[in-house]
Chain length 423, copies 2
């Protein structure tokens, strides 16, 4: 093995579903690395996530001007491309892990920053372990990101606060709308939100209602088995009392037998299966069983891409996680993840903490039971205390001619040095 | 008939689907009327629109503090309640028109401000005519409002610019998202938008793509018969070229035989008809015919309630229309509607104009043919020139604890003077 220069390059990749603020973490990584050019060479990014490392398709972020990197902070999506590609276990496919180390070595990469959720934390941990045994040590740092908010130890996951704000604001706005129409027209508004396994995002709909602006909202959580009779009775009673109500339904809501509501077997006129949504099923039963006119929306990608209404707190945390990742690396840490540690609620204070990846990998944080009201349709004050600080503050992107100015990077490739690798 | 005092009160009502800025028009009406207390007494609002007039359920807006009226400018929905209630023709139901005049007379109302779309312009016109013949003349002024943008003479309808901005911004954001995921996951993003009869709102999706931020977008207009083969070929070619694409589909898109895509007869596992959406049908065919992973969203009320991302131009126009309505009334005009008259595009300049209701009622402005590209899937530069100024500028509401502060008025009822009226 040829002698390596002391100063190592860094590799950064985005993993899984992107968010409104994952690029703010990228911004934190790159800006902080650029401040330490004595210790960190270039920051290479994986084109389309870890696939870029496997295929040696690296992006040279040093070709991007300061202004472009700065603009990442207010640009949603994954600026280098992300991917849904889970590395198999070491036993099943050692070849992929070895390839990663080979690419890192060829490009003098000593720091690995992986920006993602639970799966990527696991991958990050394995790479750190394997690189040791392969004799090419890499400091692997995981940067937390996921709208699912399901990483352990950290108070929350950057990306969640912004999707929560979007859902809370949208639910409030649509509820005002339906309230105006209810006398002669629509009486129930339904919005379907993300969160197949946990109701974090659905719970955010509850934030639409506050003490000074109460709104009748029913939340359907994936944590609570769907009880049609009880639900319809709740809708009927709310409409009777308030004249209208809003329903926030998680895509993960399921019948007692485990089937998702969204998978009720919709078929078109020709008998072809159709993609449905939980919202359409809820809308259908409110119409057919209660004869209440309703409207429904499915937020889908709009919710996680909505940088225009991102939470300032979330943006700051996302940036801080990227920055802390680089600082941890510079201090010699390995196989760790920066975390958000909450100090107090009133006033809301937090600091950056550190978690070992051994304690993060393969642990899914569920929503606490005491976040859901006893009837199963609302959020508790405990939940509100936790969630409200996360949606606090606005952080508007710059606009040009009425449209947000989001950056597209040049994404110039680093010349390849190795043979092709078949995925 | 008893002698009327010289100073008349005003009546204001909101009609049809509400918007992000209809309350800005209400604000314009009330603030301007308050500046002319020598000529206009109180402004009464109809609770739930014109129904409030028929049932003598009037709201005394003079009970609202200055700050609350001011807050209407940044509050979406209809603050006094709106309704979908079309008065029948004079021949069919003269009784209703006579009741309106009776209520106006009982409450010394000499000005009628009706804030709505085509139907309400027609009602407004009829009331003006009938009040003359009944010997209780009322000055009837129509304030334009509709996200459908289909009123004639006026350059555009307040409400449209904000929904256009929402759709343009959301489409850009979701397109950035799908572009990041396309390598290994979602390749097509579909968003369904409002506009059953005309493609104004769908066209706004085209604004997501600009010269400095080009995005592959396919628009499905209600003006263009749906051609499944041609559409799927377009999707396939765009995904081949760009790796991804976005589809903006109007709820009004229909098959050559006139059936809406949204009404393809979705049935659930039990054979019950399900409410579907055009987006689910488009998603289904992209999946089954092209095997391309896709995601879909239905914006529904979120688009027209989204005051958080309202167009500043739209807010200003909405306010100006309310203000001009009162000014017209003070000058003695009757059976007219204030309009937006465009003076120039670069720089964008406009002024308030005036249209006689005889020329507004029962005329639906369709989107010009030269706004749609020859292939039927995009917008022309002509369309862009028209639409871009309407989404210009941001006009953020105030926030408290991360949530927009929208006003709820006290809406105190005016004591009734008449017998009950059966609707």
């Amino acid at each position: 093995m040829a002698k390596k220069p002391a100063k190592k390059n860094a590799f950064y990749a985005q993993s899984g579903g992107v968010t409104a603020v994952i690029n703010a973490s990228a911004c934190g990584v790159i800006e902080t690395a650029r401040k330490h050019k004595d210790k960190i060479g270039k920051v290479y990014a994986g084109r389309n996530g870890i696939i870029g490392a496997l295929t040696e398709d690296l992006i040279d972020t040093s070709k991007e001007p300061v202004s472009s990197i700065k603009a990442l902070r207010h640009t949603p999506s994954g600026a280098f491309g992300s991917c849904r590609f889970k590395l198999k276990s070491l036993e099943e496919n050692k070849r992929e892990y070895e390839r990663l180390i080979e690419v890192f070595e060829a490009h003098n990469i000593g720091y690995f920053f992986y920006n993602g959720g639970g799966d990527s934390a696991d991958t990050c941990h394995k790479i750190s372990q394997l690189s040791e045994t392969m004799g090419y040590p890499v400091q692997a740092i995981h940067i937390p990101k996921t709208v699912d908010n399901d990483l352990p130890i950290t108070d929350n996951c950057p990306g969640f606060g912004s999707v929560a704000k979007y859902i809370a604001v949208s639910t409030r706005e649509a509820s005002f709308d339906v309230a105006s129409m209810a006398k002669t027209s629509t009486k129930v508004f339904i919005v379907e939100v993300m969160g197949r396994h946990a109701g974090w995002i659905a719970a955010a709909g509850g934030l639409a209602s506050t003490e000074d602006t109460p709104i009748p909202i029913i939340i359907l959580f994936p944590e609570v088995e769907f009880d049609q009779k009880k639900f319809l009775a709740k809708v009927a009673s709310m409409v009777k009392k308030h004249g209208y109500c809003s329903v926030v339904v998680s895509e993960g809501v399921h019948w007692p037998d485990g089937r998702f509501l969204a998978e009720t077997g919709l078929k078109d006129a020709f008998g072809h299966s159709q993609l449905g949504g939980a919202a359409t099923v809820i809308a259908g039963m409110i119409q057919s069983e209660l004869s209440l006119k309703n409207h429904w929306a499915v937020a889908d990608y709009l919710q996680r891409a909505a940088r225009h209404i991102a939470s300032k707190t979330d943006v700051e945390m996302a940036y801080a996680m990227g920055k802390a990742g680089v600082q941890f690396a510079l201090k010699g840490h390995n196989a760790v993840m920066p975390t958000v540690d909450r100090i107090s609620n009133k006033p809301f204070k937090w600091k950056v903490g550190m978690a070992p990846l051994s304690k993060v990998a393969n642990v899914e944080k569920m929503m606490p039971k005491n976040f859901i009201t006893k009837d199963g349709f609302g959020i508790t004050n405990k939940c509100r205390e936790y969630m409200e600080p996360l949606i606090k503050g606005e952080d508007y992107p710059p606009y040009k001619n009425g449209m947000p100015k989001y950056i597209r990077l040049k994404n110039i490739a680093v010349p390849k040095k190795l043979k092709k690798f078949k995925l």
